[in-house]
């Protein structure tokens, strides 16, 4: 097991190196640059040249590349041109928000998706089943930003039930420990702060969680339908096991295998979906910072954030692979 984990972690190195070369080349191939973005619409060529010289942007690309690589090894991704602070610092400040959002989106998707898929399969062919199939098709098809606007218009603007932007009400003076706002509120016993942060998570989490929700419903439904017709289920039924036991031990457990893969992959994808959701809800996470970084050609933030996110993505997939073994002894790694 340990060897498997180490192996997978070592595989990270070539993945990251390759990704980094692509990223570096892509960013430099974009027209314009940080100087133009920072100095605005009336920047003189002299000012741009001076800026590039000061920040080493006039050096040959391979020099810039090696310099960046050398520092990245020590987790120093340089300074953000836009925030005037180290990239790692900005990331650590922003990432908890994105994790919190992703987590709640996943809780929503799993918590609603698995039961929905399961019951759709049990009532195979019923109106409820058809509705869930159509609904999940819609869920996959609807663009995240459109759903986000719609949710906010209805629940925040028209009905006024839920907050529609930000991570916490600006009038709440909360203590920050981990930058996970809900957790911070619980740790400091500032219940109203925790509850308010939770309320702020609901709409973005639904917007972000809808696609994985739809996919989980479909996979769960299909998977349960498959398993129900397996020989071992018939055997279990035939030997007179209680229906509840058959469902719990033979159907659900086996049906959940493909679902867990889906969940893992979707969690990684949510990180990218977060860019759109965070923008629409002005939710202060990594996604919002990435969006600004593109506008400002903030190379340091783009390089650093995308690399760090790639690491997270690979780690999440590793966890999924490990969880496989726990669910299915046949694929338990040696």
């Amino acid at each position: 097991m340990l060897r498997f984990i180490v192996q997978r972690l070592l595989q990270l190195i070539p993945i990251l190196l390759g990704l980094f070369v692509l990223l570096f080349a892509w960013l430099r191939a974009l027209p314009g640059g940080p100087a133009q973005a920072a100095l605005g619409e009336r920047a003189t060529p002299e000012a741009i040249a001076q800026y590039n010289e000061l920040f080493g942007l006039d050096e040959p690309l391979y020099v810039q590349y090696l310099r960046f690589l050398g520092r990245a090894v020590t987790l120093d991704f340089g300074n953000s041109t836009q925030y005037g602070r180290p990239v790692t610092e900005v990331f650590l400040e922003r990432f908890p928000g994105t994790i919190e959002l992703t987590l709640f989106a996943m809780i929503f998707a799993i918590g609603v998706g698995i039961p929905l898929g399961y019951f759709a399969a049990r009532r195979h062919g019923s109106v409820f089943d058809s509705a869930s199939v159509v609904g999940s098709l819609l869920g996959v098809a609807i663009p995240v930003f459109f759903l986000a606007y719609l949710l906010r218009l209805l629940f925040a603007v028209e009905l006024g039930w839920l907050p529609g932007s930000g991570r916490q009400d600006v009038r709440i003076d909360a203590t920050r420990i981990t930058n996970f706002y809900v957790l911070d509120g619980l740790l400091t016993r500032e219940w109203d702060a925790a509850f308010d942060a939770f309320l702020h998570l609901i709409l973005p989490a639904i917007a972000l969680g809808t696609i994985p929700l739809a996919i989980i419903v479909r996979i769960t439904r299909a998977s349960v339908l498959d398993v129900v017709n397996e020989d071992y289920v018939r055997t279990a039924n035939a030997k007179g096991l209680a229906m509840a036991t058959v469902r719990r031990r033979h159907i659900v457990r086996n049906a959940l295998l493909p679902v867990s893969t889906t969940i893992g992959l979707q969690t990684g994808l949510l990180l990218s979906g977060a860019v759109l959701t965070e923008t629409v809800f002005a939710f202060g996470g990594v996604g919002l910072a990435l969006r600004d970084a593109i506008t400002y050609r903030d190379f340091a933030v783009l390089q650093g954030f995308i690399l760090l996110l790639a690491v997270v993505y690979v780690l999440v997939n590793l966890l999924v692979d490990i969880s496989y073994g726990l669910l299915d002894p046949r694929v338990r790694v040696r």
Binding site: R42, F55, V157, G164
Partner: protein, 567 residues
């Protein structure tokens, strides 16, 4: 002989303007003005939706609007603008005198002013700040840091060209004499910029304000700029929650003037324009900037107040006659008749009426009429497609192909809808006998870089002024560079008479002479026609029904100290 600007004169002049303005304004507020009506209404928190995060709070290192918006509440300079106008009035200076040669400015300072940290504001503090800017070294000299100091003063103590600043002397506790080695029309108007705010020498030193460190690729701002900005303004810096994008400032109880009415203001970053609008509609913010003209009616219908600023910008159609090496602009544009044909072909009246928000005006000069030096007798080139076609025929350029560049993904105050603007102008030009080949590029940095390096034949661009100075408009566009040419954006044309007129006006010590010289420069520019001025259009901000006392400023220099919340 010295000119003496007294507060009374300035105040009465600006009062006149204020009356005129409020007569024009559409809002039907019934309070008769400012503080009195607000008695007993003070207190409360205002939440304002900002479009982006501020960079930090040391305005000497800032040049962006979101940083300045906050800085303007915390910091003050020697001079400011009368609320709602571009009129220059004293702030921390009580009045000022200029020597006859225009090189020595004597500022008589306000007494009994304290910085937020208790340090006394005096002539020493003023000189400390001026010397501080002049002695920036290393990364602090980066144009992305001290952009405005370089733009106005021209250089630093240790640069090859040390610029126009000679020195500052505190002749007594409340008199600061600042000397320059060259006259420029930027002074004194530019001193109203937040970048030239006077900050507490104690705090600047204690928190190491000048020590901009950082690796090769970017600046790291100082502790002073991020956590301890210390000015004299009506609000004090309280906190910056960077994760949640919130800046909180609180009332300065010891303010030297009329204290602010609000207890605190929170500036909340909401990058998306639709989100800002919906948040105002949901009541979670009390106002925001960069209102889309398309939303004016909806917002007003719901009771919000759209506060339209006086236009202080210019949209023009840039022309590139093609002298820039490495580019291939259409040489037909070097013919004045072809440029005149462009000007005659565009129906600017229709553009202003159909594409721009209410209050927009057709531009005749390359600067708005509120700037000193605007001339009412420049050549105007009426809309006349027949005449345009005739000119093209005479020049043998009928049907000539122009590559027309316009930006996408952007809405500028002077150009709310670039694609629509392109569409209308392009049709006008085709009707007059031009062939148009469009290129649409993403605004920043693709578009800006393309047009500024001379890739386009014609393009749409504009400018919002920083302060009331003609040079800030026409000098920015048409002054010569080191090679005695205009910028690549305008095809690096060579027009010595324009360059000389601009330089002469900039160096004229007497304001009256200067105004006339700028008027002459405007006439010359319109004759040469290096571009076609199109329009001035008013940007707006919006506040909720119960927010009173916010005076929209043409310079986007809104002062929040007079704002109060009605019950």
């Amino acid at each position: 002989m010295t000119r003496r600007h007294t507060r009374a004169v300035a105040a009465s002049a600006s009062a006149l303007i204020a009356v005129t303005l409020s007569a024009c304004a559409s809002s039907d507020r019934d309070d008769s003005g400012g503080g009195d009506a607000a008695e007993g209404q003070s207190g409360g928190t205002l939440v304002f939706g900002a479009a982006g995060d501020p960079a930090m709070f040391d305005p000497a290192f800032a040049s962006d609007g979101e940083t300045f918006r906050v800085a303007r509440q915390i910091h003050e300079g020697l001079l400011t603008n009368e609320p709602g106008t571009t009129e220059l009035v004293p702030a921390l200076a009580e009045d000022w005198e200029v020597s006859e040669d225009g090189l020595e400015y004597t500022f008589n300072l306000r007494e009994d002013v304290q910085f937020h940290d208790g340090t006394a504001f005096d002539a020493e503090a003023v000189c400390f700040n001026f010397d501080r800017w002049h002695n920036f070294t290393g990364l602090a000299q980066s144009p992305s840091a001290s952009y405005y100091y370089q733009a106005v003063f021209g250089g630093f103590a240790d640069s090859d060209n040390p610029g126009i600043y000679e020195g500052c002397e505190a002749t007594d506790e409340n008199t600061a004499v600042i000397t320059f080695n060259q006259v420029t029309s930027k002074i004194p108007a530019a001193l109203s910029l937040p970048a030239f705010s006077i900050q507490s020498p104690t705090a600047l030193q204690e928190y190491d304000a000048d020590n901009l460190s950082g690796s090769e690729d970017a600046i790291t701002y100082t502790e002073y700029a991020l956590e301890h900005p210390t000015g004299t303004g009506p609000f004090k810096f309280d906190s910056w929650d960077r994760g949640n994008g919130e800046v909180t400032i609180v009332r300065n109880e010891d303010y030297w003037g009329e204290p602010a009415l609000l207890d605190e203001i929170i500036f909340r970053t909401i990058p998306d324009g639709n989100t800002r609008r919906q948040e105002l509609q949901a009541g979670t913010i009390d106002g925001y900037d960069f209102v889309s003209p398309a939303d004016y009616d909806t917002l007003e219908g719901e009771g919000a107040q759209v506060l339209v600023r006086d236009p202080f910008n210019i949209l023009y159609l840039g022309i590139n006659g093609g002298n820039v090496p490495g580019t291939s602009a259409n040489p037909a544009l070097q013919d004045i008749r072809v440029r005149q044909a462009l000007a005659h072909a565009i129906d600017r009246e229709t553009i202003v009426n159909s594409l721009l928000p209410e209050g927009a005006e057709v531009a005749t000069n390359f600067m708005p009429p509120t700037v000193d030096g605007w001339a009412d007798d420049v050549q105007t080139y009426e809309y006349d497609p027949e005449r345009a076609r005739q000119l093209l025929e005479e020049a043998g350029a009928l049907g000539t192909t122009l590559r027309f560049y316009y930006p996408t993904d952007v809405s500028r105050p002077y150009l709310p809808d670039p694609a629509a603007m392109y569409q209308v102008i392009s049709e006008d030009l085709q009707e007059a006998g031009f062939t148009i080949e469009p290129t649409a590029l993403q605004w920043n940095p693709d578009y800006l870089q393309a047009v500024q390096s001379g890739q386009a034949d014609i393009h749409l661009l504009g400018w919002t002024g920083d302060y009331n100075d003609a040079y800030n408009f026409i000098g920015t566009f048409f002054a010569e560079d080191q090679n005695n040419q205009a910028s690549a954006e305008f095809g690096a044309f060579s027009a010595p008479e324009i360059f000389e007129a601009l330089a002469e006006a900039d160096a004229a010590p007497d304001p009256a002479d200067r105004t006339e010289l700028y008027q002459e420069a405007n006439r010359l520019i319109k004759e040469f026609l290096p571009a076609v001025p199109i329009s001035h259009s008013p940007p707006a901000l919006v506040v909720a029904e119960n927010v009173q006392g916010l005076e929209p400023s043409p310079l986007t220099a809104e002062d929040f100290s007079s704002v109060y919340l009605e019950d």
